[in-house]
Structure formats: C-alpha cells, structure tokens
C-alpha cells in the first residue's frame, strides 16, 4: 500500500480542524483563516482543496457523521455486544453527554447545530445534513428493530417512528444541555423516553386490577 500523499494529510487535517472550530464557534463564527492557522497552512492553498467554505463544511459534515457512526458500530459489535439494545442506547447517550460536559458544553452534535444555524441558507450543506440525518435514523431504526424483536420496546409503532422521535428528542435535549450547562435535564429526557414512553405499558393491566 502506498503512503498517502502530503496533500491528503493536509486535506484531512483541515477537515479535522474544521470540525473542531465549527463545533465551538458555529458556521458564521468560524473563519477559514482560523482553520488554516490551526493546521499551519497558507491562506491561498485552501481553495486548492475545497471549492468554497460551503463545500468544505458539507464535506466535514459527511466526515463527522460516518466517523461517529463507525465508532458507535465498533462499540456495538465490540465492548457493547453483551448489552441489550436499550442498554446500548443508554450507554451511548450517557457517554456522549459526559463527553460534552468534559468539554464544558462548548460543543454538541455538529449536525444539529449546523442545521439550526445554516440549513435554510446553504443548500449544499442542507443536502449533506439531510443525508447525515438519514444515516442516523437508519442507525437507530436498526437498534429499535432488534429491540422490538426482543420485546424490549413497544411494537405498536414502527422502529422507524421510534427512531424519528428518539433522534428529535436527542437533538432537543442537547439544546437544553447547552442552555443549562448541565447534562441532568438532557439525561432525564432520554431516560423518560427509553425507560417509560418506549416501553410497552404492560402495567396498565396490573393498575386496573389493583
């Protein structure tokens, strides 16, 4: 296998620095110069790699998504393999929230924050954000589908519907985390969702016959 060329290294470094800076400062709050300074690359060369800031951001949204989903897949098939599907999800959201707390709530889901800030203005980014959201929905749908077949979550809604509500509640919970600079409110939302709302209400029989 031949070594990747230097230009590939620079390109990759620009994408990683872009993810970092955009997560911290948003689209309009991040200048190309900031990213180039991080990577120590001359200003003129940015456009050798990317056609525009928008094209750059679209590409890093794609990279961020596939990279994160592949890390989660590794966890699910490795360390998390013995957990139930619901426990896998609980582990994932607790791990993510603790990571954000460790970063002092300066970052959260790049897909959600970019969508909130620029989806309406930049069609190229919007298309990439939509693709990313579809990948996330497929990821969660797969987990809920298995959870349904093991009787862990309710089956009166499709796995797709559960995934849609789950994803939306997660993005909203992250907004609340950022507002409060605290993970507790976000944890409560996800715990209620997975621990109660998504569980088949078998206790209603018991309640009625009490």
């Amino acid at each position: 296998m031949s070594r990747p060329r230097r230009s590939e290294h620079i390109r990759q470094a620009l994408i990683e620095a872009g993810i970092e800076q955009l997560s911290l400062h948003g689209y309009h709050g991040t200048g190309i110069k900031q990213i180039l300074d991080e990577v120590n690359v001359a200003k003129g060369s940015f456009y050798n790699f990317f056609a525009s800031k928008e094209a750059f951001v679209a590409e890093l949204i794609a990279y961020y998504t596939t990279d994160l989903i592949s890390q989660l897949d590794d966890f699910i098939e490795g360390e998390g393999a013995t957990l139930s599907e619901v426990e896998k999800l609980q582990h994932i959201y607790r791990f993510s929230l603790n990571k954000y707390a460790h970063q002092e709530f300066k970052k959260s889901c790049l897909v959600g924050t970019m969508a909130a800030e620029i989806a309406a203005q930049h069609p190229l980014c919007r298309d990439e954000l939509t693709k990313s959201m579809k990948l996330w929905l497929a990821f969660f749908e797969n987990i809920f589908s298995k959870a349904q077949s093991h009787g862990q979550v309710r089956a009166d809604l499709s796995a797709r519907q559960l995934a849609s509500v789950y994803w939306a509640a997660w993005e909203g919970a992250l907004i609340k985390m950022k507002m409060t600079a605290n993970i507790k409110p976000a944890l409560d939302i996800m715990d209620v969702l997975l621990g109660t709302l998504f569980i088949e209400n078998k206790s209603s029989q018991a309640t009625h016959t009490r």
Copy 2:
C-alpha cells in the same frame, strides 16, 4: 395615558427588526448595521439603547418569548377554548409549522436556534435562553396537567416530565424541518408523540385478551 416617547418607539422597532434578522441569519450572521438599516436609525445611536450586541439579543429573546406565549394564551382562552388540551397542542404545532413553511423554512424557533449557536459562548444570552425555556416548560406543563386530569394523556409520568420530552422533541422536529425544507417529518414526530406515546396504553389489555 401618555403617548410612548419616540425613543420607546425606536427601541421597540430595533427589537422587532432584531428578532426578524436573527431568525433569518443567526447571531454571527447578523450585524448591528443590518438591524439599524431596517429601522433607519444612525449607527451611533444603537448604544444609547443597548449596552452591547449580547445585551440586545438577551432582551429580544425575552421579548420574543413573552410575546409568543401571550399569543398562545390568547388562543387557548379564546378561539381554542372549546378544544381538548391535546387538540389545543395539535392546533398550535400545526399552525406553527404552516407558518414556517409559509416563510420557506428560513425561520424557526428563535430560542432553539440561538441556543444551538451561542449558548456556550454568551452567558448573558444563555441565562435568558434558560429563562425562556422554563417559561415554555411551565406553559406546556400547565396544559399536560389539565390533560391528565381529563384523562387525555398518560398519568404515570408527571406533567413536567411530559412537558420536558414534548419541548425537546419539538426543538428536534424543527431541526428536521429545516434540514428537509418540509413540515411532514416534523408533523409525524409530534403526531406520534401526542397520538401514541403520550396516551395511556389502554389497548394493551384488549391486545392481550384478543
């Protein structure tokens, strides 16, 4: 009653133009100059009204929230008075989504978008966003509390817990709306939440005895 002074008019016009511009372009995407141009006010005079851009944005978040909640209260006590609590909520989210569609998805909830973009960077705005979120939670809690007492929604969670999940799912649904430039995915999320997840699963008895 004395007429409000001209300076009050200008102040109010700046806040309204600020809400409009920030909803469209975000915090970093909106310059003070853009807002002053909308209102036709000389640049120097902005700081007679507001100490800083951050103080201005904090004030308009507060105005946006109390104004919108007061409109919804008017609807609930007026036109919507004969509807059930669940129907009131359905009416409110359908109305809001149609309004956003009419604006070609260029705007959505200012509280959510500001939180996603700047909550981590601007403590003054973060405090105001937190206050706003608490007002929204109290608004929804009140509705869910009534809905519970009328047996319209499940009572195994507190009205506060239902309100928390509802608010988060709504903010996430708006992100999905912006990504897809379509209200259908957001509508589906809210319909599943109110129509199934928040309903006491009385059918589980019927299912089990089928």
